[in-house]
Symmetry: C2
Subunit: 432 residues, 2 copies
């Protein structure tokens, strides 16, 4: 492995598909991100064909089709694998590890089936295999399981971990057609592949729950024994009936300790409308982790797509870079407070929406007067209504559009002087 003190850390990227292009884009544009990213170079990018048209502009000489040479290149410190599929991804990762290189991957298929082999090889070489991008796209889930949640006795993982199927089920639930129609919509939007079987049949979700269960419970999961049922047989009528009974239908991946055995499976599941997972819509993913003494946490976000997954992959790259830079003030846990000064907006300059309740004499024209006064101060209103009355006074509620705080308070100071205004008991801000 290259000596990396005081020189750039060289990244070899395997794959330039959707996620690979997202990774390259972040590495080539480090400004405003973690400061360690500016110490990285994208040294080589391994692809299947040099001729494929690409929108991304890479430095000259970076592209190569010789993937084996990339993982053996002594200049490269860490290899990012986003080829997908079992081979050659697995072999290339093993070769990279054998060369003493750290590996970052988003490959759930390899990690679910050959994770133990890769971790053993990495342990022997003293390098990392990190895989935050393999599950839940941009949701931080792998690191929390290994780190922040390590004190718990984890007992249960319950997740919506496949965006394609959740999108299809959401479409069907909203009455936008049957399975075939919803799948076609997903494909036209780029949410499903032309061969959607791994998603639709639940195999992708099974890979992910196998990875999560391994980490959460510290056990070996036999991926072949994970019961796996897809959503291809779901009929719209059952979604309607489920809803009438108080449920939503989701493709759930779940793993839980049952005494000394592991209950791990993926299948379409009715889940109570009160459960937080029931309201996870479209391509979103969400994972609920339960344990003692934690209770339950839920982590939710975009489960797939170039940006979110690349965010997770490059997060791992930053982690590896921090361990390589441990001698120049970076800590492996990135604990230091590298901060720069930044002015804080004074309250008057903040832009926000407001809600205010005004008590006035119940007489004609008051609403008009209020509206005019706000308008004169440049405060644009979303609504102004007499919503009730209170001790013979009219209760008028005003909701503004986004305005400068200073302007709002000037208007309110004037309004307080109106003879018809008895009191302004409430001013609250509105999030938008």
């Amino acid at each position: 492995m290259a000596d990396h003190n005081n020189q750039t850390i060289r990244v070899g990227l395997l794959g330039l598909g959707t996620v690979g292009a997202g990774v390259a884009q972040i590495l080539l544009d480090p400004k405003g991100r973690h400061p360690l990213l500016s110490e990285l170079t994208l040294h080589r990018v391994g692809v299947r064909s040099l001729d494929k048209p690409r929108t991304l502009s890479l430095p000259p000489g970076v592209l190569t089709t010789d993937l084996a040479a990339l993982v053996h290149d002594p200049a490269i410190d860490l290899v990012v694998e986003v080829l997908g599929g079992l081979e050659p991804a697995r072999s290339l990762m093993l070769q990279a590890i054998g060369q003493g290189k750290h590996v970052v991957t988003a490959n759930k298929a390899v990690m679910a089936r050959h994770g133990a082999e890769l971790f053993q090889a990495a342990q022997a070489q003293g390098v990392y295999v990190l895989m935050e991008g393999a599950v839940g796209g941009g949701i931080p889930i792998i690191h929390p399981l290994k780190q922040a949640l390590g004190a718990n006795r984890l007992t249960r993982i319950l997740g919506i971990v496949n965006g394609t199927t959740n999108f299809i089920l959401t479409q069907m639930t909203q009455g936008r057609g049957d399975f075939a129609t919803a799948l076609a919509t997903a494909q036209s939007l780029g949410y499903a592949e032309s061969d959607p079987s791994a998603d639709v049949e639940g195999e992708d979700a099974a890979d992910k729950i196998a990875i999560l269960a391994t980490l959460a419970f510290g056990v070996q999961v036999n991926r072949q024994q994970v019961y796996c049922e897809g959503i291809g047989g779901i009929q719209a009528v059952d979604l309607r009936y489920a809803e009438r009974l108080g449920f939503q239908v989701k493709l759930l991946a779940l793993a839980q300790r049952q005494g000394e055995a592991l209950d791990i499976r993926v299948h379409p599941t009715l889940i109570s409308q009160d459960h937080p997972l029931a309201s996870v819509q479209g391509v979103q993913n969400a994972i609920v982790l339960g344990g003692e003494p934690l209770g339950e946490v839920m982590l939710q976000g975009p489960g797939a797509g170039a940006g979110p997954t690349a965010s997770a992959v490059v997060g791992d790259v930053v982690n590896v870079a921090a361990t390589l830079r441990a001698d120049s003030g970076y800590h492996p846990l990135l604990g230091s407070g590298l901060t720069t000064p930044m002015p804080q907006l004074p309250t008057d300059a903040v832009q926000t929406r407001f809600y205010t309740r005004i008590l006035t004499q119940d007489q004609p024209g008051v609403i008009g007067q209020l509206g005019t006064c706000f308008g004169d101060q440049g405060v644009s209103l979303a609504s102004i209504v007499q919503i009730g009355s209170h001790e013979q006074l009219a209760e008028i509620v005003v909701v503004t559009h986004r305005v400068r705080e200073g302007n709002f308070w000037l208007a309110l100071a004037e309004i307080r002087q109106f003879p018809a205004v008895a009191a302004i008991p409430t001013v609250l801000r509105v999030w938008s």
Copy 2:
């Protein structure tokens, strides 16, 4: 600092209140948690008084009132500070750092005001100051900001980070009294302190958003300049009107980049009922992080209490322990796959609830026959209804209680043979 190769890692605990007792409990009962916890000893526990009655039974000789001696004890490798309050917590942490000890803290007040000072001292000594427990209780938020999300340009943090005020607002929204009544309920349930001002006035939330903004944006936050408005003035009538307008009222802590300035504030806020934060109830906390290319993630869970906060604190302890044990196969990022075999439950042995839709001839007695057959196989039913009809057949939907899968399938095989049964188009599982 002690030499810690091949010997136990010694923890000094400052404080044995709610969180401290939770921390001690985990450290004294490591089985089934992260394996590194069994290499830790609770060496000293610093308290204000030895005479206070305690339910927790500690090893003899561990309790001490000499807090300064604890942080100077050369046998101690890491100090856990859960005293709360500014002093002596800050000084003791600085002394511990000065002695080359790692520090784990849940002290948001100190970290929001003196974080830079502590991190600088830690950097100079090459030790960690970790603070996962300072924000969001058991929700992993500090580590993700530092690690998994480091590749992003973060632009926005929006959170419900104070459980006490969220509980009070939830009570008021549900019509369970005005502010004073809801506060009294919170106090009687242990959700609010006898002096609730730091929570109610928003100062606790302001500490937390200052910490999060520092990490997310890499900027110095002037805690005194964080605009902070509490919920003491909220009237039940405004919660009702807000609901009529399509909003919920939450105490939001928010920080966002506005050009070259930071917009950071805490105030009660109307938030659209469609927003995921609007449905965060009771003492739950939730934090939404937005950035590029991530999009948005939401992290939700129990924001306070002994168990969740202790879970986060001890998670940090495990992290420190891993860096101390780096030479015996543990990596600072806890990357290795230390796993043990665990049998996986065969599908037949799984316990679950079922939903099934059965098409039958529309004749009397069919529902009774179905019910009897399920009962004979030990399958207890939650409901059995004729929900519709389809091509002159009756559509019967059955929802079971939790049953052994094998029994359910036996019953279903028998039912398939009933002359009146035309088809069983759907079998789905139900989560409970």
